[in-house]
């Protein structure tokens, strides 16, 4: 069904991060918001994306924000970096989704929902680290990779899952000895994302706990946040809820804390 050659070909086709994005990130890293916004403005698609993203209701701005320098100014360095990484991820997403019932708007919403709640979690955990804040932007790559690898095998997957409730990550692991999150890590490497990001994403798979205590703990929070988000009706209807297995035991020790933070009753 899926072979290692297909995976290699997918990874090969991932474009390198565009020059304008690299420069924007470099300036953001140096805390140069004004210079970063000047470079970002040159990339029209990035400017449009940032405008659409920050004007989503979950960001909570009363008035429309339209200028990139204004957007970076309001968001600050960390959230601006996260937003740019979110944009990079959209460069990988397909123009037409086939495996999942997603579209561009819904995918942007998913990025916004994850990003805002991840920030809430990091504030609760008293972590102020822009790379860790950005790590959430890599999580939807697992959905994009699933779509890319399995979209032409949708009927096979449906047949397989009609007799055995097996998730896409497990199918890939058993067929090719590599999983969705290994491929996410390769994307992160190709795009020169910080090393922390990959470690947290691997732990967030729920099946590969990290030996590093902090990465592992953040992986638990991210895994739980993913399923909290994917339990919303719009994502269930997009058939995202069971693309990977929810590892309930993995997150059990942080659940009570999470449920208080998200005010779940």
């Amino acid at each position: 069904m899926i072979t290692n050659e297909i995976i290699d070909s997918f990874i090969e086709k991932i474009p390198p991060a565009p020059k304008a994005l690299k420069e924007t990130l470099l300036f953001l890293n140096a805390g140069e918001l004004v210079k970063a916004s000047h470079v970002a403005k040159e990339d029209k698609a990035l400017s449009t994306y940032l405008k659409v993203l920050v004007n989503k209701p979950i960001y909570g701005f009363r008035n429309e924000v339209s200028d990139v320098s204004q957007i970076f100014g309001i968001l600050g360095v960390s959230k601006s970096q996260q937003a740019v990484y979110n944009y990079m991820m959209t460069l990988l997403s397909p123009s037409k989704w086939q495996l999942f019932k997603l579209n561009r708007v819904l995918f942007y919403n998913l990025q916004a929902d994850l990003s805002m709640n991840w920030q809430k979690i990091l504030t609760h955990l008293e972590i102020e680290d822009k790379d860790i804040l950005s790590s959430i932007s890599l999580l939807p790559a697992s959905i994009i990779v699933s779509e890319a690898l399995f979209c032409e095998k949708k009927k096979d997957v449906e047949l397989l899952r009609s007799v055995n409730p097996i998730d896409l990550n497990t199918i890939l692991k058993r067929l090719c000895n590599t999983d969705l999150f290994d491929i996410c890590e390769q994307i992160a490497t190709k795009w020169e994302m910080p090393a922390d990001v990959s470690a947290i994403i691997q732990a967030a798979s729920g099946v590969k706990p990290s030996e590093d205590e902090r990465s592992n703990n953040l992986g638990k929070w991210m895994h739980l946040l993913l399923f909290y988000t994917l339990s919303q009706p719009k994502y269930i209807e997009a058939e995202l809820n069971d693309f990977i297995d929810f590892q309930i035991e993995y997150v059990e020790d942080i659940y009570s804390d999470f449920s208080d933070l998200m005010e779940i009753s």
Binding site: I2, S231, I248
Partner: protein
Amino acid sequence: MKAVVRNGVGVFTPQGFLDGAASTAILSIEDIEATIAQNADMILVSLKKVIFFNRNGLDAFVKMFHKVRSANHSIVGFCDYDTKKYEAIIRFFKDDLSFSLFRSQDIAMLFSASYKNQNKNVLLYNEDKSQRAAMAIELHDNGHNPIIAQTKEEFDEKSDAENAYDLVITDTFLGQMGQKVATRVTGNAIIYTVSSFLDAEIGNTFNIAYHNNSLNVGFRLFIFDTYKVISMNVHALNFFSKLSSAGAEYNATICFVGMSFDKTPKEFKETLEDSGIMFFNQMDNILQDKELLAELGASSAANVKEKRVLNKGIVTELPNFIEATVATIEMMTNSQAIKEAAKVDKIAIAATEGNIASSIGFYGDIDGMVILVFPKEIAKKACELLIGEETDDTELILDTLAELVNIVGGKVKTLLADQHISVDITLPRTYPDIASLLEIAQDKKGVQVDLSFNNDKFLFFLTR
């Protein structure tokens, strides 16, 4: 979301957070209709991957339970939870707990009508005396050995004993049980267990589709365990007479074991005998008598008087059957198929050692049967995808093989539907060795296609 059905038990496995909005999105009206159409003996909703639920979140499933039970007489309920979740469900539905609660799927299987494993030693405890009694009766009826703890202290003491019980039942509640006729397979015979008063309701509780499937895949001996039948009326008499006549086309035999005619008119027995039903006092009189079994068709299931032959309709669709099979095996093993030979004749298996087989029937606009003979290595490789590890456990391989053949059947159904040919598929049947396959297939003529997957020989046989 659709339930995954195995051995007559359908299981939904929702994930994450289950509130009213989520469960309505998970379970559409079409999903409920599809669940009813599956006609499973038991429908369960597993909560093992649900970290949070509220009453509204469970309500959509409870409504589905009501619909499925009233349509199919199935057992319905939740399973796979801990004590905290069990207590929450009891609290939410204390006035309307008509469904069942099983702490694990293994416990639920003990109460299923189409159980495979019998004689389990089961320790059980429930605070409610009537629940304790109801569970013990159901377990006993299903062929297990229930041991009831009368007090919590007794339960704690007994459950401490290591390896004393196959299963220990706690945090389990039996709601309204399904009234399906219990079914089990013993060798090449199928045993149905019926009890109390047999009347017109037998037409609803007997799974006629399962029975017809069993005939289609080669079963020829059907035994009704009637030890617990009190009486039978004329509607049930007509039902069994018709069942026996319908089975005659396949040369099938129906036997009644342990039937008492104390409260049933004696002339009913003559009517049933006239329709071909045989009567025995003890189950062992049949199952332990190999000569009798052979005579009754349980060891020679191909003993059909009117052999059916291949026709144009089915041969025309041969490429679809091959494609479905090849695509499935390729998908499961990530290997390429090479077609080596094809012929129309009786099935010919060059090497009988190290091979296992499976068959699946289809009926509708066209009908027939696909037989697949696997080298154990291909079967093991294909099963790795489904079970996640290499195994030498033949029973596990055969169980997984049945799933694989189900996938082939499902694919055949889809490919034929594209050409507006409507078929239904039967339950798959597996054979641990070639001898048991040849019992049903050696005289059948069909199309044989020899394939090779990475040099492993694989045989495809299409017949009627």
